[in-house]
Symmetry: C2
Subunit: 278 residues, 2 copies
Amino acid sequence: MRIISIVGYKKSGKTSLVEKLVGALGRYGRVGTVKHVSGDGLSLGGTDTDRHIRAGAEVTVAVSRDELVKFVSGAGLRGALDELCDDGMDFAVVEGFKDSGLSKISIGLESDRLDNVVKHVDAGQDFDDELISELVRLTLAEREYHTLKSLIRRVKSNPMIRYAGAIGSFTGIVREVTGDVSTRGLEFEHYEGVAEERMEEICSELRAREGVVDVRMYHRTGWIGPGEDILYIVVAASHRDQLFSVLREAIERLKVEVPIWKKEYTDRGEFWVEGENG
Amino acid sequence: MRIISIVGYKKSGKTSLVEKLVGALGRYGRVGTVKHVSGDGLSLGGTDTDRHIRAGAEVTVAVSRDELVKFVSGAGLRGALDELCDDGMDFAVVEGFKDSGLSKISIGLESDRLDNVVKHVDAGQDFDDELISELVRLTLAEREYHTLKSLIRRVKSNPMIRYAGAIGSFTGIVREVTGDVSTRGLEFEHYEGVAEERMEEICSELRAREGVVDVRMYHRTGWIGPGEDILYIVVAASHRDQLFSVLREAIERLKVEVPIWKKEYTDRGEFWVEGENG
């Protein structure tokens, strides 16, 4: 999933721009949106659904003939993005959240006070086709984001899945305790573009193996805390016999062939670690 | 996750009973609810969030300081239950959906016109502590339901996860095409109670292996269509070296030691299959 956010003052036309961008991105894949709502604009005062929540349900889902509405207490932007990714969206257009670390299209806001502005739009500027095309290009150029579920969903959407009887996954997570060393977090850097290309080469070679239906991998970058996910590898195969060797080889090759480096922050200090020991 | 539904005529007190049951189940775990809403009782006419949906967003999430509200077009009860399970709920209390196959507490409805009624409550009967205790016991006796995400979530909630650096999963799915045979679906039966016990024995033995942090498995029963998930196995280990042999052994042992039988429905006919060839 590729994520882009649109920020700006109240009444600057954020929602209008979201509408146009959602329409345009729809030609390239499935689009989901996230909207910041101030105060308690979404309370359901007095409805039976509200009674479920007040009775202590952590999550309540109302289901009508046409739609499903889920209420979750205390989640936030990251949770919202994971929801969209889990649901198989190819794009997430986020309205608001100007303090997030997401890539931003700013309407009228001073860019020097914002992180990661990829495009500045003047307040009152016409949202014409040329602008929308540019915003679509910028969104398509964003880095992919995945959850394990979205990666498995992608494998399952391969038409060749009809020949698969087994799906295996590997998730690397940040180990907090190793012997008597305690890890506070890991920081990953990758050789942009090249890392993705190498991963795609590995996947594509492994897909050609007898009985293998699909292979996908995804590696996060930046800071990752204890217990959090670092990388996902998903393999689908006709039979389980063919699954594990390929899954295993995918990891070993990722560690050796893909230019990703990690810095480990522990209670014994900070140090860079070579791939193979990762 | 254990699922129980409450059905009854309009104004029979379904929501009041849901409130009491949610409160009582909260002592045993995390509780989510699903509510049937007739018509378009949840539309957001005129709000900016509604504009996102009308612009073509398949999924829209509104995020306020305290909650997250997700709108998904066209999902239904199964989707709602998977949402709750993915979110880590231990219980799902469902209000309505009297035509579902779920286990039911019926208020005032004639049980002979309903499937799977586990308890009949007379219309107008007092929802006293004794009744609620019985309903809690009935809910606790329901079969577990899992998604891959909920099983991984359970492994990650093990405090020993601090020692894990790798999580592996195996998902068995219904292979549609095998050679020139086409499968319409599989039907699984299990030796109730014994199957769960054997699976727990296998998991518990494998958990004792060097470097293994946790092992969990879940097998669905009943009818499963092409491409759908049959079983999940999740293993967490300190290092990836220890992961695959245990994951593999878990599957092989499940196939041989757990009393689950499958009937295969193909374009060549229907037949029962022994465990090892599954």
